[in-house]
Symmetry: C2
Subunit: 330 residues, 2 copies
Amino acid sequence: MRCDTIKFKKAPKIVGSFSIVGPKEGEGNFKDYFDYIMKNDLFGEKTFEMAERKMVETAITGAIQNAKLNVKDIDILVAGDLLNQIISSSYAARAFNFPYLGVYGACSTMAESMAVGAILVDGGYFKNVACCTASHFSTAERQYRFPLELGNQRPPVSQWTVTGAGSCVISCEGEGPRITMATFGKVIDWGIVDVNNMGAAMAPSCASTLLAHFENTKTSPDDYDLIATGDLGKLGSEILIDLMEDKGIKLGLNYCDCGQMYYKRNQNTLCGGSGCGCSATVFNSYIMKKLKSGKLKKVLFLPTGALLSTTATQQGESIPGVCHAIVCES
Amino acid sequence: MRCDTIKFKKAPKIVGSFSIVGPKEGEGNFKDYFDYIMKNDLFGEKTFEMAERKMVETAITGAIQNAKLNVKDIDILVAGDLLNQIISSSYAARAFNFPYLGVYGACSTMAESMAVGAILVDGGYFKNVACCTASHFSTAERQYRFPLELGNQRPPVSQWTVTGAGSCVISCEGEGPRITMATFGKVIDWGIVDVNNMGAAMAPSCASTLLAHFENTKTSPDDYDLIATGDLGKLGSEILIDLMEDKGIKLGLNYCDCGQMYYKRNQNTLCGGSGCGCSATVFNSYIMKKLKSGKLKKVLFLPTGALLSTTATQQGESIPGVCHAIVCES
């Protein structure tokens, strides 16, 4: 019988983390937890794409400093992002003198990079692994949807791509919350074709991974202080709650979605935040700080990704989703 | 002192492999080694992108069959490709009922996926891992360069994107060549801005990984029956030979480049083959068959990737390269 869940023998530690966000994100619900709030979305660069790359560099450097390590202590970077050919990660990797393993799981990338990072450390292959992902409202919108200048209306089911980057360092030594388990998810596609409705497209993959995780680990929602999905948003997280209830599992008050909680009600983000940076900045700020202080003891973190591209959409394809889960314990 | 090279304790085995190529590739130098040659580039699908997805599905299924395993035996798929948001891999993953770990290293993806796959097996995390990558001339050309209908002239330094997919199954049990080492590469950028000259852009990253590999493993070119780079092409492999000679290392007759050797002289591919499918189909046909028969005993396989995107290029960015290496022994 196949088991998609890894239980780490050595429980690699998250020894450092860093979050950097844009000004709008800096006015949202997690504003007191972020490490750096940019004054504007260009971050001193000529284009939004260059700004996103610089955010990745800043997040990685910040996480290494937060871990009280030097750049030369890092063995490898595991990173990815939403832009075509994951350029934010690849071009940022150029700035560092350590190897680079590019990954892609759309907005599930933070958990994917952390799961791979934990494997590299737990297996004894590397000592210190940096993990990172990012997204930027202006680069994602113009790549996936419409030119920014168009100022088009946004449907009620849409979400707002978070401008933010999150990074952490996973290590076999030092102090920090431990990664105890990881569950890799299957690609699930229930035929959603509305590119504005990411929550509905991703919820089934989230339910699939969550069910597999509970079954493989013989745990239930009550075993976790916090179950945090990535960016299902208001609608997607409602769908997830329904899908789980259909399977006899009730997600209670310890369940939340990073995207749903990200912005304040008056920030006009409709169904909430989205993008790789959404769950990445919440995890590497709020969740990490609560784990470190012991306010949270056991967190199930499961960001979801919509694996579409504009080409696939233009050719009439529906939107597959994927969701990877990790368990962190203080 | 950091070491970028992993030496696998259990030496995971490549128990199955499969290669599928287009008609032009089926007339090239490796025609007698491929498992499946398509009659045309559409492979019964409506678009080239859909054909590429079907090629990935076919390669994965073929490798599983070649390994004498069933789909239900596979624990996870590690795959990636050149298309935006690696859709060929992600949409193919939809067809299988196992988890999916998306990776991206441009044309270095076959080695990256195999290195990650070997880690997952060697570390005892999974039993059978499928690895795959693909490229398609018609999808890559119209994504990276010009519409196919334009029929524009190709400069002498250009290469021809291979239409092909290669897949293998890495396992802790069974019979097959062993993966004994893997070296993850750094991202290197020497400022090449000509998007037609991939060989020059990637050669420095290849030299970087090759030097690190030789140093970490205390080996020299003579220790390998075959040193095969991925798709440096005629020019890029000449540059690599020069760069290595500058460092006092002479690459001799046991060095070859998959891209340079791919097509026949009269096939008008200028500097040779390129694309993820180039080294992937050579490895999973010719190299695997020679390793299995014992004609090759120790192979150093190091595909290179150019990490550019059209957006990065349009914004004046140069082309970073990356190269991951694996060692396979019969």
